[in-house]
């Protein structure tokens, strides 16, 4: 093989790997805080991407309506859960956050969609819509199950994945879509060509990793999230609202997912069900990272991206087999290096 092809494959791998890194980070975050293995992460990706693509082509995305519908259900859950201690402020807050906000966003979307808004507006709207869906998803599906086992949460996660993927087909149809580049233009350095889009991917990934690092290291909310991850009961006794931690985790995960989608959709055509596989590769990275370490996950994600790029060049048929089977030696090494410790389960 010549160097150009190799460099090209590495570059391709790094671009994909950066996306997997973001998704892997989100998965680690959500798992650590809520113990949910977030299978619908892939749907956040497709929702973000396809909402963005629809808006950019002047269509009205169905996700905006879904956000309002889920908001109304979430509001109902809120009021039902607090039925014994209802008071005005609580009702007002829940209605504002769960009904009025998505209603305003829906109205904005309907107005703007017809006029083919600029790229920045499309991005902002898509992010807000998917963020709300992520938030309400936690309230509806996972908050009532917060005390149950990882297995039950996992099954619930599968259920939400199925429902959201089905809704995706309903909203966006079976046709794939592409969106406009976030940053157009390109330049060449040596034999490599850098597009504005791939630079955006690198930039946003690095910004997010640094941002998360700062958030968890320096802010009170970040520390509260870490505390919840270490010990739920202890965190509650220290006055941390674990539901708030869960909401923040889901909010971050949905924003990261949507953003990843928006970054990929100008490069590859996405279908309503593409997210699942993309999310799973983020998973592979997250598992290699041990579901605990952010930097390790990021490195593992780049590795997964590069392995994928090379195997799609040499053995494109076995691309997925190689990526997923990659895990077995990793897991083997991991289990040999750290023998199983006693776990107290209930």
């Amino acid at each position: 093989m010549n160097t150009t092809i190799m460099l090209f494959l590495v570059q391709d791998g790094i671009t994909n790997g950066a996306i997997y890194a973001l998704l892997g980070l989100a998965l680690v975050l959500v798992f650590a805080v809520t113990r949910v293995i977030l299978i619908p992460q892939g749907e956040f990706v497709t929702y973000g991407a396809l909402t963005y693509a629809s808006l950019a082509s002047g269509q009205m995305p169905g996700t905006a309506k879904l956000a309002l519908a889920m908001g109304i259900v979430a509001c109902g859950f809120d009021l039902f859960a607090a039925r014994k201690t209802l008071h005005g402020r609580l009702i007002l807050r829940s209605v504002l956050a769960n009904v009025v906000l998505p209603a305003i966003v829906l109205a904005l979307t309907i107005n703007l969609a017809a006029q083919k808004p600029p790229v920045a507006v499309c991005i902002a709207l898509s992010l807000v819509i998917v963020a709300m869906i992520g938030l309400y998803l936690y309230r509806i599906a996972f908050q009532p199950l917060a005390h149950t086992s990882v297995l039950v949460l996992l099954i619930a996660s599968v259920g939400t994945h199925l429902a959201l993927q089905g809704l995706g087909l309903l909203f966006f149809g079976a046709e794939g879509q592409r969106g406009p580049a976030v940053l157009s233009g390109a330049f060449t350095a040596g034999s490599l060509r850098f597009t504005g889009q791939s630079l955006t991917v690198y930039g946003i990934t690095i910004a997010f990793i640094v941002g998360l690092w700062l958030f968890f290291g320096l802010t009170l909310y970040g520390k509260a999230l870490r505390a919840t991850a270490v010990n739920r009961l202890g965190a509650r006794l220290a006055g941390i609202r674990t539901t708030l931690s869960g909401q923040i985790a889901f909010l971050l995960a949905s924003v990261i997912g949507a953003l990843s989608g928006i970054m990929i959709v100008p490069i590859t055509t996405l279908y309503y069900d593409s997210g699942f596989l993309i999310g799973l590769k983020g998973f592979v990275a997250a598992i290699i990272g041990g579901l605990v370490s952010y930097p390790l996950t990021a490195v593992a994600a780049l590795f997964v991206g590069i392995v994928e790029a090379f195997s799609s060049f040499y053995a494109s048929n076995y691309k997925e087999v190689i990526v997923f089977m990659l895990l077995i030696p990793v897991l083997l090494l991991r289990s040999l290096a750290a023998p199983a410790v006693e776990e107290e389960k209930d």
């Binding site: 798992f31 293995i37 509806i140 599906a141 009532p144 199950l145 149950t148 086992s149 990882v150 297995l151 039950v152 996992l154 099954i155 619930a156 599968v158 259920g159 939400t160 994945h161 199925l162 429902a163 959201l164 993927q165 089905g166 809704l167 087909l169 309903l170 799973l280 998973f283 592979v284 598992i287 041990g290 579901l291 048929n317 076995y318 997925e320 087999v321 990526v323 997923f324 089977m325 895990l327 077995i328 897991l331 083997l332 991991r334 289990s335 040999l336 023998p339 199983a340 410790v341 006693e342 776990e343 107290e344 389960k345």
Partner: protein
């Protein structure tokens, strides 16, 4: 012994269904599918619900079963009956390979690991040339007995349900046995089980293989029902769905797997056939509704439907009391069980910079009660863990009957006749007291999984249970024998742990805070029991905080403070030792 009557009735009902006049053939197809899913779910019940090992990869084993028979019957013209053992063997062997890697994983690595290899294998099925890639293999011959060819769903129905009912019987038999108790203890962590000689990785691998073989059986039946295979039904989605079936039914119950399969298969069918009538013109609505119903069901009944249904039945009266006249052969006594049993020489344990146990030396003689006391954090429980092989010492040596046992695993220590209880009770709460105590006699039984499934283990099993019942009576909990261990008070649970340790037939009993949580009278009974044991020839090493209890009971006391031995002697000398008083009460006292 569980009653066989409900199973017999169920089998008769299932056998009668196809003969009901006017039975729509479509329903028979549904029942076939339920049976196939139930087989896989049953394996998952054992693996996930009972053993605590979550697997997303079961669909891949179904695929191995199906592809093995598909390939061998079409390309090599083998008879389907010949491929049955081969299908099971292939699934089982792959389970050994994948299991060796997978069961070592702990916590969330395990489900994710299975998801990953499940996906990888799915892509492998769809890419391999000799498996027909995405088109799969078709024209698989039907099952046939003589000239009777099972071409219709109605004829293979019997083969499927015979398999389901046999598998359910064998699985329940397995759970109600020596091996079954070891499997049921897995979910609660491995330390307690290993302290009684259970080889936990082997037990995990065993359930993994069992589940894979059941899945392979389901795949073999599937291939001959459909008479064609392609990769789609063996993907990640299917693997997730099998797990879902087990959880909906009730992941801890064999029949929950069958019920869950019925609920999910019928629900999907109803959604697929009726939803388009309500919401016309849109595909995949059933997936949406299915997903939402799944989450709703979990929120309403997180434990599954089977236990919820069972709670309506009148509670069954306690089991039969085992025949305690049956004797279990005793542990082989070694020469030298009259002198120094345990010799701890300069044992040291460091955790990073913390020295938990600092060059501690002491002996335990035959027929002696030695107490290990000291303030919190003195290193008493760590010393116990060093002796029983849970932790390995940083330096120093521990010998039993003059033979060094450094770095021996807990399973080997217990074979030497040293058994223990735990400071934090480690019982299986959803097993009865009798079953929990019988785990203690694990090494004194011999029956393996195969003989347990076939019920050839009954004589061995009766002797084990008799021994367990004897020890329960000895500690005074005969009335609680058939209660669930989790329903007892903490003090009683500690006593159950002592009975379990006694089932080992030990020469040395290690008790970690046995009197904590006991009432005054109960403490006196415990002290009397321990004295009786000593007079019967057993030695006891105990950690205890209750000074009154220790001073009246112990022959000798070893005092630890900050990991170091500060005193050793009879209760009378310890009481007046200034070092000890200083450690407990401070300098001024």
């Amino acid at each position: 012994m569980q009653s066989r009557l409900p199973i017999l009735v169920f089998a008769l009902v299932m056998a009668a269904i196809p003969f009901i006049p006017g039975m729509p053939p479509f329903w028979i197809v549904l029942l076939d599918n339920i049976g196939l899913a139930a087989l896989v779910a049953m394996g998952l019940v054992l693996l996930t619900g009972v053993g605590g090992l979550t697997s997303f990869g079961q669909a891949a084993f179904v695929g191995f079963g199906a592809y093995t028979t598909a390939l061998l019957t079409t390309a090599y013209g083998l008879s389907p009956w010949l491929t049955l053992p081969l299908s099971l063997l292939v699934s089982g062997l792959l389970a050994v390979l994948l299991g060796l890697v997978t069961v070592r994983l702990s916590g969330h690595y395990l489900p994710l690991g299975t998801l990953a290899w499940g996906l990888g294998l799915f892509y492998l099925f769809s890419k391999l040339e000799f498996l027909g890639r995405n088109d799969g293999i078709s024209a698989i011959p039907p099952l046939s007995i003589g000239s009777f060819r099972m071409l219709s769903p109605g004829s293979i129905y019997f083969a499927i349900w015979v398999a389901v009912i046999l598998a359910a019987l064998l699985t329940t038999n397995l759970l109600d046995s020596r091996t079954g108790r070891a499997i049921r203890a897995l979910r609660r962590g491995h330390v307690a089980a290993e302290a009684f000689g259970v080889h936990t990785p082997r037990a995990k691998l065993l359930v993994f293989i069992h589940a894979a073989v059941l899945a392979g059986l389901s795949g073999w039946l599937y291939a001959h029902l459909q008479r064609a295979v392609n990769p789609t039904p063996f993907g990640a989605q299917a693997g997730i769905e099998y797990l879902f079936i087990a959880v909906v039914g009730g992941a801890g119950y064999v029949w929950g797997g069958v019920l869950g399969a019925a609920i999910v298969v019928i629900l999907k069918e109803v959604l697929q056939s009726y939803l388009p009538l309500i919401v016309p013109g849109s595909g995949q609505v059933e997936t949406i509704v299915f997903g939402i119903m799944l989450v709703a069901l979990l929120q309403l009944a997180p434990g599954g439907v089977w236990p919820w249904l069972m709670s309506f039945l009148p509670e069954r009266s306690g089991g039969k009391k085992p025949d305690t006249s049956l004797k279990l052969e005793q542990r082989i006594r070694r020469s030298g069980e009259a002198g120094v049993l345990l010799h701890v020489e300069k044992a040291r344990k460091q955790f990073g910079g913390v020295i938990a146990v600092n060059n501690v030396s002491f002996d335990v003689q035959a027929r002696e009660i030695v107490a290990l006391i000291g303030p919190n954090g003195a290193g008493k429980s760590t010393t116990f863990n060093l002796i029983t092989g849970v932790l390995s010492a940083t330096s120093g040596s521990i010998s039993v009957l003059g033979k060094p046992v450094d770095n021996a695993p807990p399973q080997e220590i217990v074979k030497l006749g040293i058994s223990r209880t735990f400071q934090h009770v480690k019982l299986v709460p959803d097993m009865t007291v009798l079953e929990n105590v019988a785990i203690g006699a694990h090494l004194r039984g011999h029956s393996g999984p195969i003989s347990s499934m076939l019920r050839l283990d009954r004589a061995d099993e009766a002797r084990l249970l008799a021994e367990a019942a004897r020890q329960i009576e000895r500690v005074g909990l005969a009335d609680q024998m058939h209660q669930l261990a989790g329903s007892l008070s903490l003090g009683q649970q500690r006593i159950v742990e002592i009975a379990r340790a006694l089932c080992v037939d030990p020469m040395l009993l290690l008790l970690d805070e046995p009197a904590a949580g006991l009432r005054h009278m109960e403490k006196q009974q415990l002290a009397k029991l321990l004295r009786d044991l000593r007079d019967g020839g057993m030695s006891v090493l105990l950690v205890e905080h209750d000074m009154g209890f220790v001073m009246n009971l112990a022959d000798r006391i070893v005092v630890l403070d900050f990991g170091t031995k500060i005193a050793e002697g009879t209760p009378a000398t310890i009481k007046t030792n200034p070092e000890v008083i200083k450690a407990y009460l401070g300098v001024a006292a």
